[in-house]
Symmetry: C2
């Protein structure tokens, strides 16, 4: 094997230069910079003899066919778009690893075709809705989504047209029928693998999420003239609740609960806070555990508000069920890691990924690479070249084992 982790990191760094911003890496759905990524990765794919196309959702697809008569196909990939001021590895590394696996296996006859996919959209930055690329694969990039507008008033359908594609062909941008599995490599974007001192992890489920916008409202009185016992202090109420949410989350294994995005009104130090708005984000692999925890947290908030003569409201903004990865592919991924000498812990992904969309139709597996410092969505996002070596080796093992089943 000639291609190594360092080469793949160099490719990710090259791709990071394709940006709609001159000062950082910002590459949203079907902006012109995406053409450069397609050219860069397409050239590499073609040099390996792959058939390269861009589907009507703007997904880059490269097919490695080993035998014309082959009926089975493994899909490998991740996304090519980024958040604003992004790092170089979130998404892109999973696509680069897919092509590298093809490069490593291209001269070996396997009873399996490999399709590498670079999804056009996962982060949800341009249109406020994530997963547009992978949704197309399961025929859920529908007319409602195609009609969404970005800040310039351009619709998804129009963005597809401006990129040189035909949104009327969107029904062709689906999973190809011979596909029987999906594998996604992704940086962890969290501190768990680093904390455990492990280079790779295998995802068994992507956590479900509940998100709310909350508001405590009291009375914005004078901070000097209102005695403590006559106050209706929205911030004191919110603070009591935030503390209780944290304590509750700490007591439930695998649960994460985050109150964030806090802002009180008025912004005057000599006036008691009349209104406090926050977000609430709760995630767990079990939808039942999550929904029960959310109910308790909201009940707790109402009790605190009642006792303090405040009002409390919570507006649901997201209730996303957890998604299980395929049991067999997950076992295969663990064994593939083991064969590289790496005991990969089984993990829950707290973040959403394309695999949670594709898994609705195709058996899917995900392998995480350790994120140094837990950092992502920032220019400091990184990955260790030794970890990428191991991921590539595990990917090759995975494909060989999978092709034998």
């Amino acid at each position: 094997m000639t291609i190594c982790g360092r080469d793949l990191i160099a490719k990710c760094d090259s791709i990071a230069k394709f940006s709609e911003s001159s000062s950082d890496t910002t590459r949203t759905f079907l902006r012109p910079a995406m053409h450069q990524v397609h050219d860069f990765l397409g050239d590499w794919m073609r040099s390996l003899g792959m058939q390269v196309t861009i589907d009507a959702a703007g997904n880059l697809r490269g097919l490695h066919q080993t035998a014309p008569a082959s009926a089975r196909r493994l899909l490998i990939g991740s996304h090519l778009d980024t958040v604003p001021a992004a790092g170089a590895f979130d998404g892109v590394l999973g696509v680069v690893l897919g092509v590298a696996i093809v490069e490593a296996l291209k001269d070996i006859h396997l009873p399996l075709d490999i399709e590498v996919i670079g999804f056009s959209e996962e982060e949800g930055v341009r249109f406020g809705v994530p997963f547009l690329g992978s949704l197309a694969l399961i025929r859920k990039l529908d007319q409602t989504l195609l009609a969404l507008s970005d800040r310039q008033g351009i619709s998804v359908a129009e963005a597809i047209r401006q990129f040189g594609l035909d949104s009327n062909q969107i029904n062709g941008a689906t999973v190809h029928p011979p596909t029987i599995g999906y594998l996604e490599f992704h940086i962890e974007q969290g501190p768990v693998l680093e904390h455990l001192n492990r280079p790779l992890g295998v995802v068994e489920a992507i956590a479900g999420q509940s998100r709310y916008r909350t508001e405590f409202a009291g009375a914005a009185n004078h901070a000097g003239t209102t005695p403590m016992h006559l106050r209706r202090d929205a911030l004191a109420g919110a603070a009591e609740w935030i503390t209780s949410v944290e304590a509750q989350a700490r007591g439930i294994g695998g649960l994460v609960a985050t109150v964030s995005a806090a802002h009180s009104e008025p912004q005057a130090g000599n006036v008691i806070a009349g209104v406090v708005r926050t977000s609430l984000d709760v995630r767990h692999a079990s939808d039942e555990v999550r929904r029960h925890a959310v109910d308790e947290m909201l009940q707790q908030a109402s009790q605190i508000a009642n006792r303090r003569k405040l009002s409390f409201k919570a507006d649901l903004s997201l209730d996303q069920s957890s998604v299980m990865m395929d049991l067999f592919l997950t076992s295969l991924a663990r064994r593939a890691c083991l064969e590289t000498g790496c005991e990969a812990p089984v993990m829950i992904s707290g973040a959403g990924h394309d695999a949670m969309i594709i898994a609705q139709e195709i058996p899917s597996a995900m392998i995480f690479l350790r994120s140094p410092g837990g950092l992502s969505h920032c220019p400091e996002e990184s990955v260790l070249s030794g970890d990428v070596d191991l991921a590539l080796a595990a990917g090759i093992h995975f494909v060989r084992e999978f092709s034998n089943h």
Copy 2:
């Protein structure tokens, strides 16, 4: 007595129409609308035979001389400026009551002159520093303050000139030597008198204040991928502290402590708060009690931050000592209230007032009028006409008693 509370409320309502804004009452230091107030009140004063002047700090001064040889003088007043979108009574009512007392007593010979003062500036809106009018009376409107700039780059000295006055004469804008006492009526701006069901209260001290800007800083990590035990959540730390500040303040008689003006960064529900900024405002009649409480609150914050691996800093923005009202005048004020049939509770003022400046040079007393709903600094600010009747009667008793001592 012919003038009554209802008349005085009508005068305040008339004055509320003199505004630099067409939609509400906003009257800051020496803006043109202040000329209209001076004309309105000046006409009333002159109709009572008072000598009316505007001093170099823009204070309206009306002198009622009962005997040319009189050497003693009582100063009665409050301020004529307002906050933006103000009510009609904060400040203005104290000046109107002063003139009304003169009207009620004008035909009675008293061995005492009465000077009614309408301070030009108390709220600190235009130049960010309060009490400019009363500071002039104790020779503290100095060159540093005269050089302050408003948002248009106009200095205090220039604002004085534009109003038609001469800032070089500022040394003449002082307390006149025969003055031996100061009496200020003011709405309470808090809920205490209403809660006690009393129309009037007598202030024995104006609380000292400590104000800080605080900041908790942690790490802004992914809300989905960062387990609870690996978080450095700035908002969870701030919330724990806010709860402890409230509990501490509730345990110390007369202390008020307010954490307000909270804002966390980033404002994203799926990112753990990396930084939370708040204000801290602590007030008590005893400077020792206040400073000890503040020390404990800041120590508590540091301990919470250390335990959670956060940083904490607190920047002092104000450390103002408490000011005692004169014991004799305060007793006189209580007795004057009693003679109207009203048992006025002795109170601490949590808000600053002109009396806290004047008291540095002249024995001072303050009488509060009940604030319905505790409301002030808003158009809904009000006062009950029966309470104004009592305040006027108490003021007349006060002046009669005071002139006999």
